[in-house]
């Protein structure tokens, strides 16, 4: 899945762009506004709007000489259009739910890199940082099995390979002291998968000692 435009996994890219715009607001928009927000040509947008209006998915409002378009949220297809808006969010939510089932819960976890930024392409890895509690060994069978399961699930849910990095709170602390690029990436673009941020785990581990 292209996490910069997840809806293109389901509908052609121009349609996905227009649907994302109209499903993303309750405001009625002009064709030109939809064109500007979608980044598509006016001709392409007009053709898509015409088709969606014909199917009843969009309603048309007259405002003087202008025509305004708004998603008809009562349409049976409206829920599907809205769901396309948040495919990334749904993917992250599934990961959160799986992490909650781990026999040894991670101290923290986050998606970072291109998946967190919402760019990349269908071939991009989904980068996940998992903070392993200090008392859990990397080779622990239950822990290692849970990590492998998560990687398989992410591939199944998205079509993207997961790149799962495991660190302990002490290692995170070292990475922060060395100002490693991954720390900047976590600060800038991460999506938390747990209530705790990976960057606060050294502090917490310290206060628990």
């Amino acid at each position: 899945m292209d996490l910069s435009k997840p809806a293109t996994a389901v509908v052609p890219s121009a349609d996905a762009d227009v649907l994302t715009v109209v499903a993303g607001t309750t405001r009625a928009l002009t064709g030109r506004e939809i064109q500007r927000l979608s980044g598509r040509s006016l001709q392409a947008v007009q053709n898509i709007l015409k088709r969606m209006v014909a199917h009843g998915l969009l309603e048309v409002l007259e405002a003087g000489s202008a025509q305004l378009y708004r998603l008809n949220r009562d349409h049976v297809a409206a829920d599907a259009a809205v769901a396309l808006l948040d495919l990334r969010g749904r993917l992250f939510e599934r990961i959160r739910q799986q992490l909650k089932q781990w026999p040894m819960p991670p101290a923290a976890a986050a998606v970072f890199g291109s998946a967190a930024r919402g760019d990349g392409d269908p071939a991009s890895d989904i980068d996940v940082l998992v903070v392993r509690p200090e008392n859990v060994d990397e080779t622990d069978r239950l822990w290692a099995g849970a990590v492998d399961d998560l990687a398989r699930s992410i591939l199944r849910w998205s079509g993207n390979r997961a790149s799962i990095i495991q660190v302990t709170p002490a290692q995170i602390s070292d990475m922060m002291h060395r100002n490693e690029p991954i720390v900047a990436s976590l600060r800038r673009d991460s999506v938390l998968l747990t209530d705790t941020s990976p960057l606060t785990t050294p502090e917490r581990a310290g206060s628990e000692r």
């Binding site: 994302t20 993303g24 607001t25 002009t30 506004e33 808006l85 919402g118």
Partner: protein
């Protein structure tokens, strides 16, 4: 200016949304740094809360630019909340967060009383929620 544009809003682009989101994150990050000083220096709480408010306002602009192609230019930040409310889904929740955050603004920036620890925590939580909301809206496409 199009027929529908009012003087209280300005058109903006996806690139503008990215710039405002970066600013929001930076305000939030500095607010967190200053928050750590608030335990020992009461006035630091006001500075941290002010930064949290700025983070929330920048995040709101980012979300509005990305979803609506316009942002509020009104002095009254409640107009920005009205725009946020037009974003779907969850624009109404984001608008409520901004309104609560802006309620703290005057105390934080101009008040002669110190922002309490509880209010600061609330401001940080609201700002964080708005930044997360904006990040989600900006990355939709």
């Amino acid at each position: 200016m199009s027929a529908r544009e009012t003087p209280r809003t300005a058109t903006c682009t996806k690139a503008d949304a990215g710039v405002r989101l970066d600013q929001a994150r930076k305000f939030e990050e500095v607010a967190e740094l200053v928050q750590t000083e608030a335990d020992v220096l009461s006035s630091a709480a006001n500075v941290a809360a002010s930064l949290a408010v700025l983070a929330g306002i920048a995040a709101s602009d980012a979300a509005c630019c990305a979803a609506l192609g316009r942002r509020s230019r009104a002095q009254d930040h409640r107009a920005a909340a009205d725009l946020l409310r037009q974003i779907a889904p969850a624009g109404d929740l984001a608008a409520a967060k901004l309104e609560r955050l802006v309620d703290l603004k005057d105390t934080a920036q101009y008040g002669v009383i110190y922002v309490s620890a509880a209010d600061l925590r609330t401001a940080m939580r609201l700002a964080k929620g708005l930044v997360e909301f904006a990040a989600g809206v900006v990355s939709r496409r």
